[in-house]
């Protein structure tokens, strides 16, 4: 139990980082109504880009921006495969994701993982977030505002603020219209190919930036760090919706709910690891099962538990 409590701030920080990725997933899955599997690849692309650039002396903000940029490019590839080449969205995402596996290794100099040198205190000080800062803040070695929860929290608020503004603009509204009703969007003169590509680019940019933050946090990038990212993203979106949809109606709050969904997901996972003797290798199976169940519930509710059906059954 004490192990769980002491791991809580770290888990919450990590959850917040994944929350930024989940906000990216929200853009494609909820706003564009499209399942984009690129994220499993672009998450690592962001992490790899960041670690390599930072390692060669590029400042953190520039490296983060570059990570966002490569994510945008990954989204562009999937978008063009889908719209220009007519490949179904899911398959387009899988193709990009597969291709990115090689690209990610290439970025990392054909190694499966690359570490950030955090032994050097000067290097460590430059980072925005690190798991080490959690302990440092607790022991008073660093001020509270260096705590990853504070830093990532601020980044999240910034991301939500920008997205809230963007989706209120003419261009952002046309993206929402594309997801809500593509026929109507085209009848109103919206080039739905362009809006879909744009949405995928923004989404994967955020996903890659989230990957860059996670690489910083754990001080390495790993070629398999994005495996299952889409499932975590969906889990966060679903948990956020299930818990907060009744109180959070505003768009900005809905995005916040997604971020909180990711935190809750991570804390629960942490609890499972700490409080039971489950082999950590089963985590992906558990995650998949949880998300599958959550995705099924609305369908079951509609199919088996509507009032009319129940009454019909009672009559029979």
């Amino acid at each position: 139990m004490s192990g769980f409590i002491s791991a809580l701030p770290g888990a919450a920080s990590q959850g917040l980082i994944w929350g930024i990725m989940a906000i990216g997933v929200y853009i494609t899955f909820k706003i564009l109504d499209l399942a984009d599997l690129t994220v499993d690849g672009s998450f690592c692309t962001g992490g790899a880009t960041f670690v390599v650039l930072f390692g060669s002396g590029v400042p953190v903000p520039a490296a983060l921006l570059a990570a966002f940029g490569v994510g945008v490019l990954a989204g562009l590839v999937t978008g063009l495969l889908h719209t220009f080449c007519g490949i179904p969205a899911i398959l387009a995402g899988i193709l990009t994701q597969l291709g990115l596996w090689s690209v990610n290794l290439a970025i990392m100099g054909m190694k499966a993982n690359v570490a950030i040198n955090v032994i050097d205190p000067k290097n460590l000080d430059k980072l925005w977030v690190s798991l080490r800062f959690v302990q440092d803040v607790a022991s008073g070695k660093r001020p509270f505002f260096r705590h990853p929860i504070v830093v990532v929290g601020l980044v999240t608020v910034g991301v939500i603020f920008i997205l809230y503004w963007f989706f209120g603009t003419e261009l952002g509204s046309s993206l929402r219209a594309t997801g809500a009703n593509p026929h109507m969007a085209r009848a109103q003169g919206i080039n739905t190919d362009v809006t879909i590509v744009l949405g995928l680019m923004i989404s994967n940019g955020l996903v890659a930036m989230s990957g860059a933050l996670l690489a910083q946090f754990q001080s390495f990038a790993d070629s398999s760090m994005g495996k299952g990212a889409i499932v975590i993203g969906l889990a966060a979106v679903i948990i956020g919706e299930a818990l907060f949809s009744r109180i959070f109606r505003n768009f900005a709050l809905k995005l916040l709910a997604v971020s909180l969904g990711a935190v809750i997901y991570y804390v629960v996972i942490q609890a499972v690891i700490s409080l039971s003797n489950i082999n950590a290798n089963y985590l992906k199976l558990i995650s998949a099962a949880i998300v599958a169940i959550f995705l099924s519930v609305p369908y079951w509710k509609e199919k088996y538990f509507t009032k009319a059906r129940k009454e019909a059954k009672a009559d029979a």
Binding site: A177, N181, A185
Partner: protein, 264 residues
């Protein structure tokens, strides 16, 4: 205003499902013309409309709107010239967006979408006034999601959206077919009122012969991808239901499979 020159369209060519949908259609509409289009199922009424809207490209022939050749333009680029209302009330509006957001999207038809606000305060007032003219109480529900509206309300809203930027041509694709008779009549009255108000050129596909006779200054009948009857002016005014049924029997011979389709 509209020139359709000898257009052809075959769906699924070379397969067992091959369907010759348009078989050399020619049609010329003058500015202010309001044409009603009838014909049995599969005659090509909606196909002509979709060809004009650019849902897919035609195999041959050309389409000009206000003298501009739009044959090669994709759907979203033709949208600047066209206002459209669909058969399914779900198609014309975005259900998960607000009433005013839907109107704001329509307001920007034909212009570039920038990073300016998606809707302004001044627009909201304009929309409130416009919605009031529908007399459906929607002016008090501007921030409600369109998904909460009834079919008739959605069609009325779509009509408003289609004409918010005055279109060169208003395309109505059996837009009252999915509504109950009373609502259908109301939506049709609104349609007539809006067309008269802005002196719009309109192309209305309908399965209802009575409506086709009652509205517009021109009537065309289609069969097997061709226009087989075209009445305008005085001739159109004098048309009766019996005339149309006779006409149909005469031109298409024994191919009337069911009067029900025509009289529905």
């Amino acid at each position: 205003m509209l020139d359709i020159n000898n257009i052809y369209k075959t769906f699924n060519p070379g397969t067992v499902n091959e369907k010759r949908a348009l078989n050399g259609v020619n049609l010329h509409l003058a500015e202010g013309d309001f044409v009603t289009v009838i014909g049995s199922n599969g005659a090509g009424k909606s196909t002509v409309l979709n060809a004009i809207a650019g849902v897919w490209s035609v195999d041959s022939g050309s389409i000009l709107i206000d003298g501009k050749d739009v044959t090669a333009l994709p759907e979203h680029k033709r949208a600047r010239y066209l206002g459209r209302v669909f058969q399914d009330p779900m198609t014309g509006t975005a259900a998960t967006m607000q009433i005013q957001e839907n109107l704001a999207l329509a307001k920007r038809r034909g212009s570039r979408r920038t990073l300016r606000p998606g809707i302004t305060k001044a627009e909201q007032e304009e929309y409130r006034e416009l919605l009031r003219t529908l007399d459906l109480g929607l002016e008090d529900r501007m921030t409600a999601k369109v998904g909460l509206l009834s079919g008739g309300q959605r069609q009325a809203l779509t009509l408003l959206m289609a004409t918010l930027q005055q279109p060169k041509l208003l395309l109505l694709d059996e837009h009252t077919a999915a509504l109950d008779p009373k609502t259908a009549e109301k939506v049709l009255d609104t349609t007539e009122a809006i067309i008269n108000k802005y002196h719009l050129t309109a192309f209305m596909v309908t399965h209802n012969m009575k409506d086709a006779i009652a509205h517009g200054n021109r009537l065309i009948m289609m069969n097997e991808g061709k226009i087989i009857f075209d009445a305008a002016g005085e001739e159109k005014k004098k048309l009766t239901m019996r005339d149309l049924l006779d006409k149909f029997a005469e031109i298409s011979g024994s191919s009337i499979q069911s009067d029900k389709v025509l009289l529905a």
